[in-house]
Symmetry: C2
Subunit: 554 residues, 2 copies
């Protein structure tokens, strides 16, 4: 497979012509319609279900559709841009047109990452990539070294967390589209900030999903929470694997993204001899060799299985790091948060101590919530393989009312939770606004245009809270107000306790960056002990001559 350029979809050649390559094994005839002038360019059948075309009748910015069997006029599944939304024409984009000026940028080592997770639509009043650029100096001042952007693949409407994206290669038009993302990354790099992009390889969103018209992108061998699984190992899987490998490569190569955060990889079902994650890693390693630019692969994974993060040559999938939700759960329960739902497995301060010591809380014990023995020991995995946080989009937004920690814990407890995270021997991550204790919620919002789907989402949302027994009505995800009230209130950050909290976060981050004993992520130089009676956690860390003891009174 090519790593130097994208081969699927519509791409510009060195000679300025455009090449189209569409995988459509279900079709008997395929052509590409140039919308202006309604010109249909027939595509030539290739091996393995591909259709190809080379043409000088396209230019950067043109709208086109793929025509299957002369009667289906569809968007391109490998589309780079959907300026009019998920149901409408795709747009030709010359990914090489952007004039990068980040040649002096070098991605941070993971040890240096202090991640700031943000949602483009609610981070700023404008909800665009351009508006993010206006906040970079603020983030730099806070001490952030990497922003993590929630998924930007084109979704239905203008309001979505991003996990309903249906065009994995197309950057959400309402955020500014692909060129605005390139511009944002370039600006980040000039300011010394790395960019992590959240990508979804475990399912494809419900609305605007025309994939099955083209070919077997899905398999009925496995069931996932979102229906049939993406076809990574069944008949015809090669093209689907290539699709996702090329997606990962594109972000790194053509958007200069520094790290990907792969959503819920436990829902990627792949019994192939080589797991798709390992194959992605191999290709990314190849790209890194070619460009000299390092990139990180970070996973969200609910399996406590080190196979995912072990190196390829140790039969691992080679992922560089993973989120540990268990740190969050243990911290939260210790801080006095509720204990129902998946929190039932977390017993408080002993578990918090365990995660400092062992990364995973469950590394072989019986989990009452999962009804099975769960996890393996992560003894040999260094601290920079684990991302920790005291809140994130999911932990906030999956609450019925989407309350942040600021609405659930006292001011002092919020500070303690921030410190617990920022002095951990792992990679810390903040969720936008927590640094000033943003009181607005981060609620679940969508803007589906299909009324049946919208209703199903409303119902599903209600069903989801059965385990939490929260009271009151769930906000309507379809209501624009739900989106608007989830936006950050920037005017607060300079006021009263918000300002105090901001100063506190900034100080903590500075401590982390400049004290080697905190900055050092050698897990053999960490010891946490829990005093259950006093609800006190003692975290000891040492490095060379330095020694740190943190007493956390919960």
């Amino acid at each position: 497979m090519e790593t130097v350029k994208r081969t699927i979809g519509v791409n510009i050649d060195p000679d300025g012509e455009f090449n189209a390559l569409i995988w459509a094994p279900n079709a008997g005839r395929v052509s590409l319609r140039v919308c202006a002038g309604r010109i249909d360019l027939p595509m030539q059948k290739q091996d393995y279900g591909y259709w190809a075309l080379k043409t000088d009748q396209l230019k950067d910015g043109d709208l086109y559709r793929i025509v299957l069997d002369d009667d289906k006029f569809l968007p391109d599944p490998s589309s780079l841009s959907q300026p009019k939304g998920v149901h409408e024409a795709s747009q030709v984009i010359d990914l090489n047109a952007f004039a990068w000026t980040d040649e002096h940028w070098k991605n941070w080592h993971l040890n240096e990452y202090i991640i700031y997770e943000l949602h483009t639509g609610t981070f700023t009043p404008e909800g665009t990539f351009e508006a993010i650029e206006g906040k970079l100096d603020y983030l730099k001042n806070l001490g952030i070294t990497a922003i993590e952007i929630m998924p930007v693949a084109q979704f239905a409407g203008e309001r979505n967390w991003g996990y309903d994206g249906v065009y994995p290669f197309a950057v959400q038009s309402s955020y500014g589209g692909p060129k605005a993302l390139q511009h944002l990354v370039n600006t980040c790099h000039q300011k010394g900030i790395a960019v992590v992009l959240d990508v979804v390889y475990n399912h494809i969103g419900p609305e605007g999903n025309y994939f099955s018209e083209y070919g077997p992108y899905f398999t009925d061998k496995y069931n996932t929470p979102w229906g049939n699984a993406i076809n990574f190992d069944d008949a015809w899987c090669d093209a689907v694997r290539q699709y996702y490998i090329e997606n990962a490569l594109m972000w790194f190569r053509d958007f200069h993204i520094d790290a990907l955060r792969l959503d819920a990889v436990h829902a990627i079902k792949d019994f192939s001899p080589q797991h798709i994650l390992a194959e992605i890693k191999e290709h990314v390693d190849h790209l890194i060799k070619e460009t000299g630019r390092p990139h990180h692969l970070i996973i969200e994974c609910d399996l406590n299985d080190t196979r995912y993060i072990n190196p390829l040559d140790k039969a691992g999938f080679g992922m560089d790091a993973q989120w540990i939700d268990e740190f969050h759960h243990a911290l939260r329960v210790t801080a006095g948060g509720e204990r129902d739902g998946y929190y039932e497995d977390f017993h408080g301060i002993e578990h918090l101590a365990k995660t400092y010591n062992d990364a995973y809380v469950y590394d072989g014990q019986y989990s009452a919530h999962r009804h099975k023995n769960f996890g393996v020991k992560a003894t040999d995995n260094p601290g920079n393989q684990f991302i920790v946080f005291s809140q994130n989009h999911d932990q906030i937004g999956n609450r019925m009312l989407g309350e942040r920690s600021s609405q659930l814990f006292s001011f002092e407890m919020q500070k303690l939770m921030a410190a617990a995270t920022l002095i951990a021997p792992f990679i810390p991550m903040l969720f936008m606004g927590e640094e000033w204790g943003e009181p607005n919620p981060f609620q679940y919002f969508v803007s589906h245009t299909d009324p049946e789907l919208a209703e199903a989402v409303r119902k599903g949302r209600k069903a989801e809270f059965a385990a939490f027994h929260a009271e009151g009505e769930a906000p309507d995800p379809m209501d624009e107000q739900t989106f608007i009230q989830s936006k950050l209130q920037w005017q607060l950050k300079d006021k009263g306790q918000h300002q105090t909290m901001f100063a506190y976060y900034k100080k903590l981050i500075k401590l982390r960056q400049y004290l080697p004993v905190i900055h050092n992520l050698n897990r053999n130089q960490v010891k946490a002990d829990a005093d259950k009676d006093k609800q006190m956690l003692t975290l000891q860390r040492w490095y060379q001559g330095d020694y740190l003891v943190a007493l956390m009174n919960f």
Copy 2:
């Protein structure tokens, strides 16, 4: 987990009392009914959904049922014996009562295995284990070192290949039940014959399947050809894993079985950090250490993925050997067999040469039948990890009319196919009767007592032949005649060409056993070349000073 004794089901204690341990997390109350006298013995709830009882009110041979919630009187899923069939009472069996006299037996190294696959019901007129004993001298004379018995787990009725078994621990009553199997194994060992038992860990048969009354033995996360997959990694999977681990251990420990042949392990879906096959291997290794008796684990696997047969310390699942159907397919197509269905991937003599050289025909190439790139290289796996055959129960019985090679190929071609198999640098396997060119078919037969199921099987059978385009009517699997006409005709073996064929097989086996150059399974001392025009295969093998060249004219 205990390896020294079975812990689930009903088992005798050293003190002569019986212990019962039943996994029934779905039940609110569980008792054990002793059928004679209708005595209900309440069981005590344990952790993880188990229920336990110790009682002196049972003795070897007693019938009992498990009573769930006072109103469901069911057989025991861990039953050792179902003397009245799959729907009726279970029977207490003292597995330690048998007086073994095989203390001098030592299982053959896999290199010495010459396997003879047999189906108990059709191998002899009587269709019992006892009747097999009467044929052992015959098999020994032929040169067989191991018999492989098709599955014996209790199934509905008296006629079944065995893959519809529903009590994995119970030995089919119509074959003679558990004690007759112990007797057969003991006799085999006295005659120097190893016993391979075919076991099914990928599904449970349809009739008499009360498992879901007890607990989540199945998961809807994965779909298999037989419906929901067995639950090896979902909530509550620990008990299901223990169930199958204990099953493997029981055959080795309590029945002195020498090797297991695990049916279609590609249909075992398990994303746990440790695959269930690897966990079985660990426990078997532990048992071997305890008893000093070696055992082999052989898999049927349709994945060409060496992960299954690589050692545990190389991140493999540790299986000792696997069937290679691809050898059969390549041989068969080379011999002039049809090329439709799954045979479409096999191009004849070059592929036969490839399997001699590389074990797998597909080790990374695109498979037109599977519509994907398939397989990995098996370069580092020794010859004794691969079982080859020119026919087996599946390849014969899955044909619409169940014709053996004797009905499809000329006499000379049958001999060539036999030689091709017996001089291969792999472990050879015969299917019962092929050594005298048995003309009777081996057809698909069942004896379900549920009429709806019987009808579904009839229909399914017909649908299966869509790819083969065979002509005529499929024999009715439910008709007893289908079973009867699949029996061997022993009177033929001493007559005419049948006798010639037998002598030929015997000679080939003798050659294999006594010529080091054939017996040697070092794959680096093998070279096969195909001359496509002449349809001639040259197989060269060498060992120390010896050199063999076999010219096979197809």
